[in-house]
């Protein structure tokens, strides 16, 4: 037998940045296509502009900063796709370009490019746009008329389901699940998002800890502390309607807004989420708590992006806190 001596790393994997990013793109496609179906051809335009301008800004900023070109790792495509999925379909096109510039140039490349961004670029760009153009970013539309209509004015403006829960015309849970509702392009079809999420987990691109902790924490908080929570519940638990009522608000809140998109595709970004399992659970719980607080006590309807960006900033500290000790390490101040 021949013994080989080699230095680490001994375990190698075929995965490259490019292949992982390709997996993420594939996983995002069902939800994107569902968004195109629900919002018409203008959604395709917004997506294309977002992806194209992200790639172009990535190329230009690498060029200006005299660094090697990284557009082939597809990370800019993922950022562009995620950004488009986080935008309402009626947004003016130049705002999409501004958002892409902010994501790539300011958040990603100014901090050193892929792997060095301190928050998720797509979320940061979304928040920038929400603060910069509050009106354009919160005008939701439901498509009426033909799917190939390019004008957003053909649409009827509508409230996001998040603010509608008490209204009589609030969509049913099934409609929320399949995506027939107002919202951002990529966040509407929960079914398609879940298909993509399962694909990512099967391919071992993401681990389920962050989404599990995030969604679970949020669900429990709404269940126990929501407006019609378990404590002031007055329905009859002996009937199936009573059970449905008991879980209605927590499921409604889970399925509306960008929670599923955020939990599976944006909170799990490698660069800006903790490395350890304990840290991932903490990160997800923090996101869940913050989302609940912003949605119920803040002055904004949606809190997913803000909660993820806040936890992104805490990530280095969570990592420090939960990092395991190497075997046999002695404490610095230990008595000998």
């Amino acid at each position: 037998m021949k013994l080989q001596v080699s230095h680490s790393p001994h375990v190698r994997d075929k995965a490259t940045t490019q292949s992982i990013m390709l997996d993420v793109i594939i996983a995002l496609l069902p939800a994107t296509i569902a968004g195109w179906y629900y919002f018409g051809i203008r959604a395709v335009l917004v997506t294309m502009v977002s992806v194209a301008s992200c790639v172009i800004f990535e190329y230009l900023s690498r060029r200006v900063m005299k660094r090697n070109n990284t557009i082939s790792d597809l990370s800019a495509v993922v950022t562009g796709l995620l950004l488009a999925m986080n935008l309402p379909v009626s947004i003016p096109i130049y705002m999409v370009v501004i958002g892409a510039a902010f994501a790539i140039v300011v958040v990603k490349q100014m901090f050193g490019g892929i792997g060095n961004n301190f928050v998720n670029p797509a979320i940061a760009a979304r928040i920038f746009l929400v603060i910069a153009f509050p009106k354009a970013m919160t005008s939701w539309v439901v498509r009426v008329g033909e799917w190939y209509s390019l004008k957003s004015v053909d649409a009827v403006s509508s409230a996001t389901p998040l603010t509608q829960i008490k209204a009589p015309d609030a969509p049913s849970l099934w409609k929320l699940f399949i995506g027939d509702k107002a919202g951002c392009i990529g966040e509407v079809c929960i079914l398609a998002l879940l298909i993509g999420a399962v694909y990512l987990m099967v391919r071992h691109v993401i681990r389920p800890w962050i989404p599990m902790a995030y969604i679970g924490t949020f669900f429990l908080l709404v269940f126990f502390f929501g407006h019609s929570n378990v404590f002031n519940f007055s329905g009859d638990l002996l009937t199936s309607q009573g059970w449905a009522d008991l879980f209605h608000e927590s499921l409604y809140m889970l399925l509306s807004g960008g929670l599923i998109l955020g939990a599976f595709f944006m909170a799990t970004d490698y660069v800006t989420s903790p490395l350890t399992t304990k840290g991932k659970l903490l990160f997800g719980m923090g996101c869940g708590i913050l989302t609940f607080l912003i949605r119920y006590y803040g002055n904004m309807a949606e809190g997913v992006s803000f909660s993820i960006i806040l936890m992104n900033i805490l990530t280095p500290h969570i990592d420090d806190w939960t990092m395991g000790k190497p075997f046999g390490e002695v404490k610095e101040n230990a008595k000998v």
Partner: protein, 256 residues
């Protein structure tokens, strides 16, 4: 400003610097020091509070800058005149009193002749009293130098601060409001919607960071010309010397 000119007045080799120690504070050096090398806002990062608060429009930035310019020049002149009279132990209260006198003059003048401006600048005019730029210059320059250099230093620091404010105010007003000195600009408001972001505190910090970054790029390009640069003992990689560095006590006996 050509690069050669700037190269002329700063960044000498250590030996040259030592030899020129006595004649270092040439008028040209003091002026460029205040405007660029030690720009109080963008290089020393002093006076950040009014900087972020008043730069929502170019007009209020300009007037704030001019107010600071006046107070800085006048108080440095007086402090320099009294530098041998003021006892060392009570110098800070004495400086503050002198600065407060001029701030009161400025505030009364503004509220008498420009009431609208007074309202928009609000608390930030009285707050000039405790602006760290003024104290820093009084402590590090005016209390040690002769009157004329002190006046020039106050003036150039004021110009540097005004330019920084004006730069930030212009960027924030154009992007956030679509106006420049209250004039409506074409395209903005019709084709492009002004970005609220730049009117809000996060936008202020953002523009501040970008401006610091730009000045840093200019200084980096300058530094390339000087291969051997002596690191200063206090650990700051400031391109100029200890004139108003915060860790001043660290350098005592090493620089002088």
């Amino acid at each position: 400003m050509s690069e050669n000119k700037m190269k002329d007045v700063t960044y000498r080799s250590p030996d040259e610097r030592l030899a020129e120690k006595k004649s270092k504070y040439t008028p040209k050096y003091i002026f460029l020091n205040g405007v660029l090398f030690e720009n109080p806002a963008l290089r020393l990062v002093l006076g950040t509070c009014p900087l972020l608060a008043v730069t929502i429009s170019a007009k209020s930035s300009l007037f704030m800058g001019l107010a600071v310019l006046f107070v800085l020049t006048a108080s440095e002149a007086i402090i320099s005149l009294l530098r041998n009279v003021i006892p060392n132990k009570v110098r800070i209260p004495a400086f503050i009193t002198i600065i407060a006198t001029f701030v009161t003059i400025v505030q009364m003048t503004i509220s008498a002749y420009l009431p609208a401006l007074n309202e928009s600048l609000g608390i930030y005019i009285p707050l000039i009293v405790v602006n760290c730029i003024l104290l820093a210059r009084a402590e590090t320059f005016a209390s040690k130098q002769k009157v004329l250099p002190s006046i020039l230093d106050g003036f150039s620091m004021g110009v540097g601060f005004t330019l920084a404010l004006l730069l930030m105010g212009t960027i924030r007003e154009i992007l956030g409001c679509g106006t420049f000195f209250d004039m409506q600009l074409p395209l903005f408001g019709t084709v492009f919607e002004p970005m609220m972001f730049f009117m809000l505190p996060p936008g202020g910090f953002f523009v501040f960071g970008i401006c610091i970054c730009l000045v840093q790029i200019i200084m980096k390009k300058q530094e390339k010309h000087t291969s051997s640069k002596e690191p200063s003992p206090c650990g700051t990689s400031s391109s100029s010397d200890c004139l108003s560095c915060a860790g001043c006590s660290l350098c005592k006996g090493k620089e002088e």
